[in-house]
């Protein structure tokens, strides 16, 4: 009799406990934690973003194989915002409110990030953004694992001005027509002016997203280049427009030794399928290249090759390629895992606090550190020239990691802005 009562009570209390725990949220559901993946898998940006989705999944597989985060398995929730900026915001809201993800990895273009930013701030959730961008932003809800302008654009232009870069005196700033190229070019124009370049020696050109006919643009570059001293082109063209652009560049025989083109959004992946033999010597500035010789990079590229083969990823299963945003994505996930374990919680405020100062041995061969305050990574800068096989030859690099300056000193008024996220209005009260 007594025994039966005991069993009954035990069952009852277990049931009550279960109900009680169930209502306290994700933690209590025990074995898994959901993570959002918000990258375009179709449309003009799919060329760049699809592999980032796969990189997130690879890292999650790795982490799960080693026991997950705080003993919990990570469950990825993949959505396709289809290169459609308002859809990014919708999908972000769905990830946070319906799927209740603890963190989201996603976005490539700045316009997509600007579109989801209010959602992440309103619902107080975390976004890891893995792509180089124009700066001018620090949100307490975003960690930026790509480069700020001083970690990519400015060093690249300085290199082209140097003797080894060809002492360029005249500049064509060519980009896709949206916020990232416009802002970057504004910063570059101010920077070039500070170096004594006259306005007449700078032209800016923009094309719409998905533009495919670069004949007149290349003709314009040629004309401008022949009208004065050494000319260099800074390309912030994004998405699949890069394929017709580089095809036209090669076909029209614009050689890198005459007019070098340095790109900020073109890596190994974008050049796949382009005949790179006529493009030898054109440049890209990144914080990682697949060709970098470092033990961490060997491990990273091998893992990716094996993963691509196992998962039968189109293109990569035969010719695995890694690139900078993939590296930044990879660093981001591991840093998030470390921060969660340090904070012993998935709470946004606690994880954010624990993020500052996290380190990770990056595939680029350096130890990447998350800045204590400004939500950006300290990164080394590399400048590479395209080789005939579509890889990059590193011709210049910084001695060590560079701290990000999201508020570029070349934009007026930025000197007064704080190098850390502003506190929320309600926190100030």
């Amino acid at each position: 009799m007594k025994r039966r009562n005991f069993v009954k009570q035990l069952a009852l209390s277990a049931a009550i406990a279960a109900i009680g725990l169930g209502s306290t949220g994700i933690l209590a559901q025990a074995k898994t934690v959901k993570v959002g993946v918000l990258h375009s898998l179709s449309g003009t940006m799919a060329i760049s973003e699809t592999v980032l989705k796969d990189t997130v999944l690879m890292a999650i597989d790795e982490i799960n194989a080693k026991g997950g985060v705080m003993g919990m398995k990570i469950e990825p929730v993949v959505v396709d915002p289809a290169s459609n900026w308002p859809l990014f915001a919708e999908k972000a809201r769905q990830l946070i409110t319906q799927d209740k993800v603890a963190v989201t990895f996603g976005c490539w273009t700045s316009v997509s990030r600007k579109s989801v930013l209010p959602v992440f701030e309103e619902l107080n959730s975390l976004l890891f953004y893995p792509v180089q961008y124009e700066g001018e932003e620090i949100s307490r809800n975003v960690f930026y694992t790509g480069a700020a302008p001083n970690q990519q654009a400015i060093p690249a232009v300085e290199y082209l001005m140097s003797k080894d870069g060809g002492t360029a005196k005249r500049w064509v700033l060519l980009g896709t027509d949206y916020v990232y190229p416009r802002t970057t070019n504004k910063i570059l124009r101010a920077f070039l002016k500070s170096k004594g370049v006259a306005d007449a020696d700078i032209v800016e050109e923009y094309t719409p997203f998905g533009h495919s006919d670069y004949q007149t643009i290349i003709a314009k570059i040629k004309k401008f280049a022949s009208e004065g001293k050494k000319t260099a082109v800074v390309s912030t063209i994004n998405g699949d427009s890069n394929v017709p652009f580089y095809k036209e560049l090669g076909n029209q025989g614009l050689k890198a030794t005459d007019v070098p083109v340095v790109a900020f959004s073109v890596g190994e992946e974008e050049l796949r399928g382009v005949d790179t033999k006529p493009l030898v010597g054109h440049l890209a500035a990144w914080n990682y290249f697949m060709s970098i010789k470092a033990p961490a990079n060997d491990a990273f590229t091998k893992k990716w090759a094996a993963y691509a083969k196992a998962k039968n990823i189109a293109g990569h299963k035969d010719k695995p390629l890694t690139n900078d945003p993939m590296e930044a994505t990879y660093i981001g996930i591991y840093m998030w895992k470390q921060a969660v374990e340090k904070a012993k919680s998935f709470d946004v405020a606690k994880v954010s606090a624990a993020m500052g100062g996290q380190t990770f041995t990056a595939p680029s061969g350096i130890t990447s550190t998350m800045d204590a305050k400004n939500h950006h990574l300290h990164k080394a800068v590399f400048i590479g020239e395209i080789k005939a096989d579509g890889q990059f030859n590193v011709v210049w690099k910084t001695k060590g990691p560079v701290k990000a300056a999201p508020w570029s000193p070349f934009i007026a008024g930025n000197d007064k802005k704080k190098d850390e996220p502003a506190l929320m209005a309600e926190n100030k009260k």
Binding site: I47, Y206, P208, T216, D240, P244, N251, D258, W396
Partner: protein, 494 residues
């Protein structure tokens, strides 16, 4: 003989032994030292030095039997290719010399002047000599006495290369007045020639865009223009043609005949797109003749279905279509204007397609039926034209041409599931602008829009150009709803 000549010239050079120090510097010096080492090896001029330089250009230097990998950046590559070209100037082979002279015409370092002059002295070939003279002039104008400089400047005035403009515009602000005046005169001459080249280049760009618009719109001109079917899935038929080309290309990659895959891809893309079009006509559109709104909605739905099925089969990302070797690169047509082969081939292709359609519509029985049905369906049916099957064949023809457009587009642009979306608006614009109901208007409209787009782009940038063209079309259609060319006759209102 060749070595002897160089030796005579560079009497100070050590006898047939390459400078070990210079080779070591190539391997381990900084970039300034490497440049000096390249110049030193060039001065030696013997074949062994040339071999070392050629290896260096590929990123390898052999020091004491060991291969050292070196990073060759643009600056070093430019120096070493110029040096190799300069060595090539003395080759007994005409082709090698011509190649070398062309490479150096792009602007060579003043260090090479003695070598170029040497080559010039014994050069007799009519093609190579002027190139060398220009190269020598471009070096001489920078330094030396005034008379030589002015002579060099005058010689550069006969050139039509963009490099000469760069050099002359520098000299045009020289401190010495005589040089300034000479340079300004030469600069005007060069600029005059280059301006013609630029205009010709723009014209070509316009024709090229026009030919692409024409290919994209020709099929629509038949299905919409002649048959009156508003086919929103036209863009997807283009996309199907492009994917067919991709599939053929993948099959050919395994064989040795990769360069010839287009010969199979062209008929294949026509047949596949035509088949899809005919199925579409039989299954859906046939039931909707005379109901344009329903046709529009139904075909739009079909376009979404086609996009999604391609996405499911081939994946959402773009697929890579590689050009056959003969279609990459280009040729120098005018001063400073390079015409890419891919675009030239597409222009010719568009002309051929246009001509075949013209023949088909005017010289064949099917063409006669199509024209008959277009002009008066009831009357045609009365005299025994099987209008139903004519509709199907005509729709198949229009769809097949869309497939051909896809095949052509795959050679210059991206191939992805959304490919067609980018062309549907342009295609309708061309057909409406040209005037519904006949082909000549489509041709004029495509070329006009191609030119307009390119001229505006050159003036105001790509973004503004697109907007201006759209605004222009809107106003034009308001003033003249029937388009450029109107069909006169009884059936127009039907």
């Amino acid at each position: 003989m060749r070595i002897l000549l160089i030796l005579l010239f560079f009497a100070a050079a050590p006898v047939l032994a390459i400078d070990k120090g210079a080779v070591e510097k190539l391997a381990s010096g900084d970039n300034d030292e490497k440049i000096v080492a390249i110049a030193a090896l060039l001065a030696e001029g013997d074949p062994e030095a040339a071999a070392v330089l050629a290896k260096f250009a590929e990123g390898e230097v052999v020091v004491e039997g060991k291969v050292v990998e070196v990073v060759v950046n643009n600056r070093l590559r430019s120096a070493v290719t110029d040096a190799l070209a300069a060595l090539g100037l003395l080759s007994p082979e005409r082709a090698t010399r011509l190649e070398a002279a062309k490479a150096l015409a792009g602007g060579a370092d003043a260090v090479m002047l003695p070598l170029v002059k040497k080559a010039l002295e014994k050069e007799t070939d009519a093609d190579i000599k002027p190139l060398l003279e220009l190269t020598a002039a471009s070096m001489e104008m920078k330094g030396g006495d005034k008379a030589t400089r002015i002579a060099a400047i005058q010689r550069l005035g006969t050139s039509n290369s963009p490099n000469s403009r760069t050099l002359l515009s520098e000299a045009a602000t020289d401190a010495d007045e005589d040089i300034r005046i000479a340079a300004q005169k030469s600069l005007r001459e060069v600029q005059g020639k280059l301006a013609w080249g630029e205009r010709a280049g723009l014209l070509f760009a316009g024709i090229s865009l026009g030919s692409i618009l024409l290919l994209a719109a020709l099929g629509l001109a038949i299905t919409y223009g002649l048959m009156g079917v508003i086919n929103m899935a036209h863009g997807e038929l283009i996309m199907i043609g492009a994917y067919t080309t991709y599939v053929v290309q993948v099959l050919f990659r395994k064989t040795n005949y990769f360069d010839w895959y287009l010969l199979v891809a062209i008929p294949a893309s026509f047949v596949v797109a035509a088949a899809v079009g005919m199925i579409l006509e039989r299954v859906v559109i046939r039931w909707l003749y005379g109901r344009p709104l329903e046709t529009l909605l139904a075909t739009w739905g079909i376009s979404l279905m086609l996009i999604q099925s391609v996405r499911t089969i081939f994946g959402a990302a773009n697929v890579q279509v590689e050009n056959p070797a003969f279609m990459s690169g280009g040729f120098q047509a005018f001063a400073g204007v390079v015409l890419p082969w891919s675009r030239v081939v597409i222009i010719v292709f568009a002309a051929l397609v246009l001509f075949s359609i013209y023949l088909l519509l005017t010289k064949t029985r099917l063409g006669l039926f199509v024209r008959g049905v277009t002009q008066n369906r009831e009357m045609a049916a009365c005299v025994g034209v099987p209008t139903g099957s004519v509709d199907m064949w005509a729709f198949g023809l229009g769809s097949g041409i869309a497939g051909l457009a896809g095949c052509a587009l795959s050679q210059i642009g991206n191939v992805g599931p959304d490919l067609g979306q980018g062309y549907i608006v342009d295609s309708f614009m061309v057909v409406v602008f040209g005037g519904v109901g006949q082909l000549a208007g489509t041709v004029y409209a495509a070329l006009t829009l191609g030119f307009a787009n390119k001229f505006l782009e050159a003036m105001s940038g790509a973004v503004i150009a697109k907007i201006v063209v759209l605004v222009f079309i809107i106003f034009f259609i308001q003033r003249r709803p029937q388009g450029l060319f109107a069909v006169k006759g009884r059936a127009v209102e039907a």
